[in-house]
């Protein structure tokens, strides 16, 4: 620790701290543009200049280490002045230079109102300029469908370039030319290839890179901001939903160090237009092969007529990928009351069973825990598409120090180097037998991590083999939980926590959707499957997608931005989404629909409000009350049990459940923006294949 004086306040900081960090420790505010905590230091905007006693010139505090400061002549601690005349003058000078080529178009700039340059010019600038020449003009660049450019406004902080090169691992942006002619662009104005590209608009401290889909549409001060969580994948990124009136206008990331730090994927950010279109805003009934609008009463009556006469063995319930814990709880309550054992939530065909213990189906090491791992084996997992932010964490770990990553499954660019071991179950068996040198790496690692992805979950024998391998290499000990299941659906872990799996003698997911298997199927938002012919299908969901087109009764529900709902992410972390607006038309919150339906069916659920529902839920599943935390499970026992399953693996190559990253659920499929991203990504894939 080194002592340093900041504006007369003595602080004791680690010697490797920068002056900027030391100043922040002392409570001094340092303006900055190019510096960002999570990116490398560039030191090119010069806004963070401070006066350092003894230095001949002001120094850039973001790039000057405390240990490089000279002590005073008698060994006094070095002294930094952030409010001195020299510092003020330096800041004013830098600001004047920055504004030389910055257009005065704040009134028409989308960044206006949340612009770093605007704020800092007010706080640290002067009121006029002495520059009488023409400002430079820079051509607009096309860098993709999600980010609009206004390059006149660029101040060349290179945050976007550094983000893509360092965090996203897809270095598509660069600065061409030099001096006054420096321009930020992608190679020949191709679209950026990263699934995290939307973040560059957040990072841009000025209005040069702004989100394209909501261009010219919103002002930050007219939005109501709701803190919520994302459901587009199982990671559960922290988001802020910005709504104007009833309509969601944009989704921005929130900081959550345990999950997404401060990034979100493009799929999390841009399903906004998908929330507006294709919505189910009233109940529908199928008559003569066509769906017709109906009232709630008609719809419930039609359901009651079918269910009341049905044999509980011929009734089933499916839960899809976006359902919150509350409605799953309500559905389970209703089905149990009806005596139905045919329940399943495992739409992807995962052969996981809550009976094996919670640690058998969650990502035990947790996302921050990835940073402690020193060797990673991916079994049938492509974290880049299945859980983008988790992939960012693996990449962060790889940047911190040497990390061996082995991949069994489809070979792909993970944004960090990996050893490709093979395509399927054969390779897993060979690796377990030690026929591949990667086993030595895993065994030699102190904290190896085995990640089992969706592609490997369909066969219990594969899960057992992966668990046995994890045990064998010492991934599961009392101190280290190195066995993680990578889910892709936000609802899955919550539904498994509630035990929404077939009861005694019940059919599983594929058994239920087989043609003729059931008479009545209650489908709570399962859109990635088609229920077979013969069944009367009640679909409750938000969008006119695959599920609604096969339905006989459609009940309009609320999307994740329109209800307060609990979601459990892949780590088993319990989080709550909050309501940013109301569902459209006659649509209602899902638990309330089920509560009303239970009344009609004669099995009234014992709660009349969300609070009462949650009370019942927490009484039955106490761990769900601990919002924001992960209930540690007994990993050793769970993995032992998994490994004990045994069985012989069928010879097969692993195929990722995420075929198109941008279109994995009905909300995303309704979005025009994500459709454009998807078609660009397909084009890139074709080009790469050539």
């Amino acid at each position: 620790m080194t002592k340093i004086l900041v504006d007369g306040i003595e602080v004791d900081v680690p010697a490797e701290y920068t002056l900027l960090q030391a100043c922040e420790m002392a409570g001094a505010e340092i303006p900055r543009f190019c510096f960002h905590e999570r990116l490398s230091i560039a030191g090119n905007c010069r806004m963070c200049l401070v006066e350092l006693k003894g230095a001949p010139k002001p120094v850039a505090s973001c790039a000057y280490a405390v240990k490089d400061c000279r002590p005073g002549p008698n060994g006094e601690p070095p002294e930094v002045l952030t409010r001195s005349g020299q510092t003020k003058k330096a800041r004013e000078g830098v600001m004047e230079f920055l504004l030389i080529n910055h257009p005065l178009d704040c009134p028409i700039c989308d960044q206006g109102g949340h612009c770093d340059l605007q704020d800092q010019a007010m706080a640290y600038g002067v009121d006029s300029t002495r520059y009488g020449e023409n400002k430079r003009a820079v051509e607009e660049k096309y860098i993709g469908p999600l980010v609009r450019t206004a390059m006149n406004r660029c101040i060349h902080c290179t945050r976007c370039v550094r983000f893509l090169a360092e965090v996203a691992g897809v270095p598509d942006l660069g600065a061409i030319g030099r001096g006054e002619d420096m321009e930020i662009t992608s190679y020949l104005e191709q679209a950026m290839g990263s699934e995290l590209q939307g973040n560059v608009a957040d990072l841009c401290p000025v209005g040069a890179l702004v989100p394209k889909p909501q261009s010219y549409n919103i002002r930050p001060w007219e939005l109501s901001k709701t803190e919520s969580v994302d459901v587009m994948d199982a990671v559960g990124s922290a988001i802020r939903v910005d709504a104007r009136g009833r309509e969601v206008m944009q989704i921005e990331p929130r900081v959550n160090e345990d999950i997404n730090e401060e990034w979100i994927s493009d799929k999390t950010r841009h399903p906004v237009d998908g929330l507006r279109v294709q919505r189910l805003d009233r109940p529908y009934l199928r008559e003569n092969g066509r769906l017709r609008p109906a009232s709630w009463g008609e719809a419930f009556a039609a359901i009651a007529a079918k269910v009341k006469g049905a044999d509980p063995k011929r009734v089933g319930a499916l839960v899809g990928d976006l359902a919150g814990v509350e409605e799953i709880f309500a559905l389970k309550g209703l089905m149990t009351a009806l005596g139905v054992a045919n329940l399943d939530c495992r739409q992807g065909g995962e052969r996981l069973d809550p009976a094996w213990g919670r640690a058998s189906y969650v990502f035990n090491p947790t996302i921050p825990g990835i940073e402690a791992a020193d060797a990673i084996l991916l079994v049938g997992a492509n974290p880049r598409t299945e859980a983008s932010l988790l992939n960012v964490r693996i990449r962060k770990r790889w940047r911190m120090g040497p990390l061996a990553v082995g991949l069994i499954g489809e070979d792909t660019d993970l944004t960090y180097p990996h050893t490709y071991l093979g395509a399927g179950t054969d390779t897993l068996a060979a690796l377990a037998k030690g026929e591949h040198s990667f086993l030595e790496i895993l065994k030699g690692a102190e904290r190896p991590l085995v990640i089992v992805g969706g592609a490997a979950l369909a066969d219990p024998a594969v899960i057992a083999a992966a668990a046995a391998l994890a045990k064998d290499v010492g991934a599961v000990t009392a101190e280290w939980n190195g066995f993680g299941v990578l889910h892709t659906a936000a609802a899955r872990v919550g539904a498994l926590d509630l035990g929404f799996v077939p009861g005694v003698g019940g059919l599983d997911f594929f058994g239920m959707i087989a043609p003729g298997a059931l008479d009545v199927v209650f489908n709570l938002g399962a859109d990635e499957c088609t229920v077979g012919a013969g069944a009367f299908v009640i679909y409750q969901g938000t969008h006119g997608d695959r599920g609604a087109s096969r339905a006989d009764v459609v009940l309009p529900g609320a999307a994740y931005t329109e209800k307060s709902a609990t979601y459990v992410n892949l780590e088993g972390r319990v989080q709550q989404a909050n309501r940013a607006g109301f569902p459209p038309g006659d649509a209602r919150e899902d638990w309330a629909i089920l509560r009303a339906l239970s009344d009609v069916l004669g099995h009234r659920l014992p709660y009349d409000s969300l609070v009462a529902l949650r009370r019942a839920l927490y009484a039955e599943h106490p761990h769900l009350a601990a919002i924001g935390s992960v209930e540690p499970g007994d990993t050793v026992a769970a993995v032992d049990r998994l490994a004990g399953l045994g069985g012989t693996m069928a010879k097969a190559a692993f195929a990722s459940p995420v075929l198109d990253f941008y279109l994995t659920n009905p909300i995303a499929r309704a979005s025009r923006v994500l459709a454009e991203c998807s078609s660009l990504a397909r084009g890139r894939a074709l080009e790469a294949a050539e």
């Binding site: 600065a175 061409i176 030319g177």
Partner: protein, 369 residues
Amino acid sequence: MSNRRLAPASEQPESFAFTQENAAWAKGQIEKYPEGRQASAVIPLLWKAQEQNGGWLPRRAIEAVADELGMPHIRVLEVATFYTMFALEPVGRFWIQLCGTVPCDSCGARELKGMLQARLGPAGHVSADGNFSWLEVECLGACCNAPMVQINQDYYEDLTPESLGTLMDDLAAGRPVNVGSQTGRVSSEPQGGAATLSDPTLFDGSRVGAWRQRFEDKNKAEGDEARAKDEAASTEARAATEPKIAKPDAGRPVERPVSDAPAQRAAGGDAPIKADDHADAAERGRSIAKHGSARPGDADVLDSPAKRVAEGEPAGAEAGAQSDLPRDAVPPQPEASGASENAPAAKPSEPSTKPAEPSAKPAKSDPAT
């Protein structure tokens, strides 16, 4: 300078690949850098690609270089657009880069620019006959002979619009031209020939170095030995009474340890060499001394000046090479101020009381004695 863009698609070649010879050369360049640092070879490779492609860099060449070095395309584009020496559009057979920075500008680069503009049209365009194109660039580092241009690989200096015109005519016609100054100036001499150092006596030894002769004569006359003795004695006397500071502290606090050096350990009273230092040195294989051989710290086997003196050998026979002094000890005082290489022989002095301090004696024994 203006925005530098790749040439339009109509001028871009369909493909680019290094010739076999250049590819081998490129491989040699890449091998200069350690594994993982191949991107360092980007500028040499771009040079070669430009040379192979008739003086300019097409898009395919940029991509080929990027692929060869495993860099993203945008990174190579950044380099290619940064330096004006990489032409991104076709250039003439003779590519004139006119320096327009301040020294050249104040010596008439503006007239040259006007002349080029009049003769070849705007910058960046190839003349109709394909012979010339020109570009104003920043300082090329030949300010002393301003104004100047670079044509392909060569500098042409001290230009006027007329001489540049003649030069271009000669180049176009294939006549031989003089590289360098066009006024006959030799390297960076003043205009009109050298004005200093023109006295021939400077070079015949009668003036430069004459002092040395004078000293030699004087020494001979006064008797070398007596003089040297006096001076040595007086130096030693001075050293005892007014020691010089070994290490100027330049205002820094001096108590800060710099590193864990043997000299510091010695000053602190510890053994200067730890046992595991030997092991380290042996492991790294970089030690000059053989493992287990004598080291400066091993006092009994040390070939110290004191020991040598005791054996009757002149102390400091290899002085000048390295001092065994601890950092904080008083260094040897300068030798007799005569500075003559023919200084009198050093008589072996009395063994010093401090064995670590080498005796302050001349570096070489005089063969004459």
